[in-house]
């Protein structure tokens, strides 16, 4: 087949995925939003979904998604408000997005936090464009491009310079699926923290039935801003979850992220953590617990531009049944980024013979005075430890659970906000009873 025909074939396959974007054309929008949709659609039309031979996509098979029939809708379907899960913490304020659409009537932001729908923010917030029309080549990030083609839903969260928000802030993405006509969701979100401000976010993704959610999130931290962002990816068992986060950190800012992933049949969380100035701390850690035929992929790039940065990528996972986990982590240290301290660690515990864990750890270092370490390993439950616990009267199933919890405890210890750590611990215990 010649190159032209090949391109035609790609376009034939991608067009159905872009058709619904025409519905957005009739909506009023800022010029940059229209331009972004256009660029995204064009890029996606040419690339289509990633090919399994494409760099970064060797381990995650997309057939479960690409064989599906998903459609974007301007309106979220009707649902029972009482079905929304309770907030995770009693004292938090919460905002709700239903199928990616911000619902102010169900939402309440903490003092010091301004929340707007993406479309409102696109015309009202000055300078927002630079954080939402992001760096990077859409041609190499098909999911990001597809999301861009549907720029409409989502939310913008801003914290003014100097504001220290003490109340925990929950952002709930509640997704209502449908077996016959499964929705495709394309929210685009931004957390923008002004100079020397601070915020603690709990970001939850959950829902019912079949759906495909493809999120793009920007996180912009101005100098000395501090963000703690705790994610729970607990999508419904038949959902596909894709998220692409660009974290941009300025001088002396700090980021502490933790992602807890147990949901969805096919998921990928991709992060580009850009440490564009000096003195930055950037920690992204997480835990995944997979069973049945779930597949989950964490792909993380940490990019050090300037000196004295400290970064951590530390993930641990438990993989049961025929589930598969993927971790691709890269720390990139540019020539100017002297005194970088980078650390990457990934461990998976395989609970069944058919479970699989794939790792791709990478360091790419151009500076000469740095401290970087990486490690990846998979293993099984330690038989000796299991026997030791049983010999003390602890039944085998309980002993196994205890060992799995202990395995995950070392990464949970990275969560400095203890109420959320306790939530994670409870959820892990509940998962282990499955």
């Amino acid at each position: 087949m010649n190159a032209f025909l090949q391109q035609e074939a790609v376009i034939d396959a991608t067009l159905p995925w872009l058709e619904d974007a025409q519905k957005l054309g009739e909506q009023p929008a800022a010029d940059w939003v229209k331009a972004l949709r256009h660029t995204g659609a064009e890029a996606f039309a040419h690339t289509g979904f990633p090919h399994p031979k494409q760099e970064g996509w060797q381990y995650t098979q997309l057939r479960q998604l690409t064989d599906g029939d998903f459609h974007y809708a301007l309106e979220a379907p009707a649902f029972d408000v009482n079905a929304l899960p309770q907030p995770l913490l009693e004292n938090s304020a919460r905002i709700v997005l239903v199928n990616g659409k911000y619902r102010p009537e169900l939402s309440d932001a903490p003092e010091g936090v301004i929340v707007m729908s993406l479309m409102d923010a696109s015309v009202q917030v000055e300078g927002i464009e630079e954080h939402l029309v992001t760096v990077g080549d859409l041609g190499k990030a098909p999911f990001k491009a597809l999301n861009a083609a549907y720029t409409h839903d989502g939310v913008v969260v801003t914290v003014k310079a100097g504001a220290e928000v003490t109340q925990p802030f929950e952002v709930l993405f509640y997704n209502v699926g449908d077996t016959d006509k499964a929705p495709a969701l394309y929210p685009r979100c931004l957390y923008w923290l002004g100079k020397n401000s601070s915020l603690t976010v709990i970001e939850r993704h959950t829902g019912t039935g079949a759906y495909f959610t493809n999120i793009y999130a920007g996180i912009a931290l101005e100098p000395s801003a501090r963000l703690k962002c705790y994610k729970l990816e607990e999508e419904s068992a038949t959902a596909c979850h894709f998220s692409y986060t660009t974290l941009q950190q300025q001088k002396d800012s700090s980021f502490e992220g933790f992602s807890y992933a147990t949901g969805g049949k096919l998921s990928r969380q991709e992060y580009r953590n850009l440490l564009i100035d000096s003195g930055i701390s950037s920690k992204l850690t997480g835990a995944y617990l997979l069973k049945d035929q779930q597949c989950h992929d964490f792909t993380v790039l940490t990019d050090h531009f300037e000196p004295d940065g400290k970064s951590v990528q530390h993930f641990k996972g438990v993989v049961d049944d025929q589930a598969r986990s993927v971790f691709q982590g890269k720390i990139h240290v540019r020539r100017a980024a002297q005194k970088t301290d980078g650390n990457q660690l990934n461990h998976a515990l395989l609970l069944s013979e058919k479970a699989e864990a794939s790792f791709k750890p990478e360091l790419e270092i151009y500076a000469d005075d740095v401290k970087c370490a990486h490690g990846a390993a998979s293993g099984q439950i330690d038989d000796e430890a299991l026997f030791y616990l049983q010999s003390r009267g602890i039944p085998q199933a309980e002993a196994r659970s205890l060992l799995i919890e202990s395995f995950l405890n070392t990464v949970l210890a990275e969560v400095s906000f203890s109420p959320v750590r306790e939530v994670y611990e409870e959820r892990i215990r509940a998962w282990l009873r499955h």
């Binding site: 430890a385 616990l389 049983q390 010999s391 205890l402 919890e405 202990s406 405890n409």
Partner: protein
């Protein structure tokens, strides 16, 4: 009352026969020492009794307090009142020692049909037993045996034993890795548990532990069989003469005849 009865016990590890017909009866209130050279099957005996996977019984019978011990899972054996103090206690990072003790104690109590401890009662008991063993409360927060010295590990074994209050305690080379002070403390812990309702099987290569834990009966184990049984004086004899008498070919043949 007969507590443990081992009859013609044969066991394999990795396809190799290690126990070749053990016969041993332990009554309540007694302390038995099993002594023997390296490779004689001492540790195998303790693991077989505790139910470690990979230690396969090919022949024979073990009765513990009237029950078929070999039919029980390791946790069932613990619930029935058996305790093995490990030669090499296992490190478990991420599980605190106190959490471990509480889980074990309550699991055993539940299996025995007893009420679980209230947190206050548990802490009281833990504190009391730790004080008896001269242990620092700080180690309760650490992962089980993680970063513990040899002495601390063995004290931790003694602590678990004191808290679980077993009917039969098997001490597998408890003296290995211990200096003399730690040895005394651990031995005192064991002696404090001696009672007419409880029995001990002390497995050791050297006689020095038996200076501190006085046995009633001493057995010599060599090449997978009990070669000789006697009183405490047998341990002293071994101290003088070593195991040469039991390890030569001639000795083994003679031993075969005597059984």
């Amino acid at each position: 009352m007969t507590m443990l009865k081992i009859e013609n016990l044969h066991a394999e590890v990795g396809g190799r026969e290690v126990l070749k017909g053990i016969n041993l009866t332990v009554k309540a209130g007694e302390v038995h020492a099993v002594m023997g050279p390296n490779g004689s099957g001492k540790s195998t005996l303790s693991y077989v009794l505790a139910g470690r996977p990979g230690y396969e019984v090919t022949k024979g019978k073990v009765t513990f307090l009237g029950q078929d011990l070999l039919a029980l899972a390791p946790e069932g054996r613990a619930a029935a009142g058996m305790f093995l103090a490990f030669q090499y206690p296992v490190e478990i990072p991420g599980v605190s020692t106190t959490m471990f003790l509480k889980t074990a104690l309550n699991a055993v109590r539940k299996a025995r049909g007893e009420k679980e401890f209230s947190p206050v009662d548990f802490l009281k008991l833990q504190k009391e037993k730790m004080a008896q063993l001269g242990m620092d409360a700080e180690m309760l927060k650490r992962g089980v045996n993680v970063g513990f010295s040899g002495g601390e590990k063995k004290r931790n074994e003694a602590l678990q034993m004191a808290m679980l209050a077993p009917k039969l305690a098997i001490l597998d080379e408890t003296d290995s890795g211990l200096d003399i002070d730690a040895l005394k403390v651990v031995a005192e812990g064991v002696n404090a548990l001696r009672s007419k309702d409880r029995a001990f099987l002390v497995i050791t290569h050297y006689q020095r532990l038996l200076k501190h834990i006085k046995p009633d009966i001493v057995h010599v184990l060599a090449d997978g069989k009990i070669r000789k049984t006697g009183g405490p004086e047998l341990a002293l004899e071994l101290e003088d003469k070593g195991y040469a008498e039991y390890t030569g070919d001639a000795a083994l043949r003679a031993g075969d005849k005597s059984i």
